[in-house]
């Protein structure tokens, strides 16, 4: 049945409106980052202003410790991602496959931590990290982020393993694998989409976080990118050009990570293996 024209027009109008709403700010930031000086407002409607310049970008690298912040952010995010994937993939497997005393209780406890907003956990976790002498260190921030990202990742991985038939592992064990080998050669390859989601989630948790970083990192040289960028926004004269240019650069790694991992996000990896 063909859709009436009115409906088609209405549908597209709504979709276009939302596309505009989501794209406009991004384009606006691009535009600001290319303007000379710190002109936040402009009557010019062009996305690329007539007098465009890369001065703001250059200033980030020459006049500001942008590279240092980038390094901090990358180091912490990479560490959170690796730890998150390693711990979630193994813990999720244990919850999915083994029946042990306290399994349900532990799973519920993990879920419970997700009921509190991270800001609420800020104080106790900060005290913890301060006691450990980890204020102003990569490790301190990494522990913080891993602790907040892990519960979701563990549940997510458990759910994923639950969809992988146990008979595949049994076949592998009869084929000569130890439990560990069966996990490595058969289960993990089939859990790739789950691992990718875990990796993306861990990375994003660390990469774009501000509030926690603002507590743990106190010296400017230890700042992560969100902290550093916030610094451009002073109460009297904000450096909007730098702010915008840095925002654009911060998003690039995220886009790169998403693009490179998205091809692993396919459904139905286990299709055809078993017949239920």
């Amino acid at each position: 049945m063909r859709e009436p024209l009115r409906i088609t027009i209405l549908r597209h109008a709504v979709l276009l409106a939302f596309v505009a709403i989501s794209i406009y700010p991004v384009l606006n930031v691009v535009s600001i980052s290319l303007r000379p000086g710190d002109r936040l407002r402009s009557t010019d409607l062009a996305i690329i202003p007539a007098d465009w310049t890369l001065a703001s970008y250059a200033a980030l690298f020459t006049e500001q410790p942008f590279l240092r912040w980038l390094g901090n952010s990358l180091a912490v995010s990479a560490a959170v991602t690796v730890t998150g994937v390693a711990l979630a993939s193994t813990a999720g497997y244990a919850f999915s496959r083994f029946r042990f005393i306290g399994r349900r209780a532990t799973m519920l406890a993990i879920l419970t931590t997700q009921m509190f907003p991270a800001t609420m956990l800020l104080l106790p976790l900060y005290v913890l990290i301060a006691r450990l002498g980890l204020v102003d260190t990569w490790l301190g921030l990494m522990i913080f982020y891993t602790a907040t990202a892990l519960p979701f990742c563990v549940w997510q991985m458990k759910g994923f393993y639950d969809t992988i038939p146990a008979s595949l592992e049994e076949a592998a064990r009869i084929d000569g694998c130890t439990r560990g080998q069966a996990f490595w050669y058969v289960v993990l390859p089939l859990a790739t989409p789950g691992l990718v989601i875990t990796a993306l989630f861990s990375f994003m948790t660390a990469w774009s976080e501000y509030i926690v970083a603002a507590q743990v990192m106190q010296r400017e040289e230890m700042f992560t990118l969100p902290l550093g960028i916030k610094g451009f926004q002073a109460s009297l004269s904000s450096q909007w050009g730098l702010y915008a240019a840095a925002s654009i650069l911060v998003s690039l790694p995220v886009v790169a990570v998403f693009l490179s991992l998205s091809r692993f996000l396919v459904n139905g990896l286990t299709v055809g293996s078993v017949k239920e």
Partner: protein, 360 residues
């Protein structure tokens, strides 16, 4: 190749369910042994204990002369074919078959040789590069078989390998399995709930119910002399007809008196009293008594199922329904009254209690 010996095997699942209750059995080298029984009777559990996938609660399992209770599945020199095939979905057919050999560090050339040979034997050479999801059910079944064959194990374990195939393919694969076994001569333990598979494939059949072995014997021996009423009802299709009644004065009288038959030669060994008489549908003779058959009852046909080469007549004898197999396509119609006899030596007498042990 190897013998398998099972002694006093028990399985209690966590939670307390007692799934296998003390089974003992010896499987000869090269034998095709079929474990058969209704769903839930503990066949898979028993097989999985032999495979090492399920812990043994009590008892001993020996493969060859090695006690394997505490040996890892991969070190038991067995291969298993699962009901759901359990092919590795991320590997090609070739790699699926080679996986077990690679795990055992078999030389590359030897892997290549064995995979090619198995693929040829199963006619799946053209599928070697495909992934499992690109195969039909029957092809997946062959690959699963191939994966077991290349390992050249001492014992094959099959858990309902044909039950996911359609009827036609099942008949074909059944024949191929029989052929394969004759060619390889490897010991096989084959689990099925299908009595036809059991009858056609097994050198011997082990019939289980509620975790207990009911009878172990060659297919025809079980068919001819079922050890109890459960076995009698399970083996044979349509199932055996049972009549509750009494033995007295050298004859059997069905409850209500609708049927009676002399038990020449049998009654001497069986005490008088309550009993159950079993008669297979093909052991009735239409036309009543003559020198080969003893007169039994007159029955009214309620339903006549024409199969072409035979007719299955559902008849009412004293209010209870029995099935009579009438050879050929001789006209039998609902409402007909058939005089029925029983072929000599085809009567099975069982105890009337729940156990239903064979009396004669």
């Amino acid at each position: 190749m190897a013998t398998v010996s099972i002694r006093g095997l028990h399985k209690r699942y966590p939670g307390g369910f007692h799934a296998v209750r003390g089974i003992s059995l010896d499987i000869a080298d090269g034998e095709f042994l079929v474990l058969v029984g209704p769903s839930g009777c503990g066949k898979s559990t028993s097989l999985r204990m032999v495979a090492g996938l399920e812990e043994v609660s009590e008892g001993e399992i020996r493969i060859g002369d090695r006690l394997v209770n505490d040996i890892a599945p991969g070190d038991r020199d067995i291969a298993m074919v699962f009901q759901n095939y359990a092919l590795y979905p991320h590997l090609s057919v070739r790699d699926n078959m080679a996986f077990g050999l690679r795990m055992r560090n078999t030389p590359r050339a030897e892997i290549e040789r064995r995979v090619s040979a198995a693929a040829a034997a199963l006619s799946i050479e053209s599928l070697l590069a495909r992934r499992p999801r690109e195969l039909s059910g029957g092809q997946r079944q062959r690959v699963a078989l191939g994966r077991a064959i290349v390992r050249e194990p001492a014992v094959f374990l099959f858990d309902e390998p044909l039950s996911n195939l359609d009827a036609k393919l099942r008949v074909q694969m059944r024949a191929e399995l029989a052929l394969l076994h004759r060619r390889l001569g490897t010991t096989v333990i084959y689990v099925t709930h299908d009595q036809v598979e059991a009858m056609t494939l097994g050198d011997r059949i082990v019939l289980m119910n509620h975790g207990v072995i009911q009878q172990i014997d060659a297919p025809l021996a079980i068919y001819r002399r079922p050890a109890n009423r459960f076995v009698a009802a399970f083996i044979g299709s349509p199932t055996m007809n049972f009549f509750h009644g009494t033995i007295r004065d050298g004859g059997f009288v069905a409850a209500g008196g609708a049927a009676r038959v002399p038990l020449d030669g049998v009654a001497a060994t069986v005490p008088s009293g309550d009993a159950v008489l079993g008669i297979r549908p093909e052991d009735f003779v239409v036309g009543g008594g003559d020198e080969d058959a003893a007169a039994f009852a007159t029955a009214e046909v309620t339903v006549a199922e024409q199969m072409g080469h035979e007719t299955l007549a559902h008849v009412s004898i004293g209010g209870a329904t029995s099935i009579v197999r009438v050879p050929g396509n001789r006209g039998v119609a609902p409402g007909d009254r058939l005089p029925l006899g029983v072929r000599a030596g085809a009567m099975h007498l069982f105890a009337a209690d729940d156990e239903g042990r064979r009396l004669a």
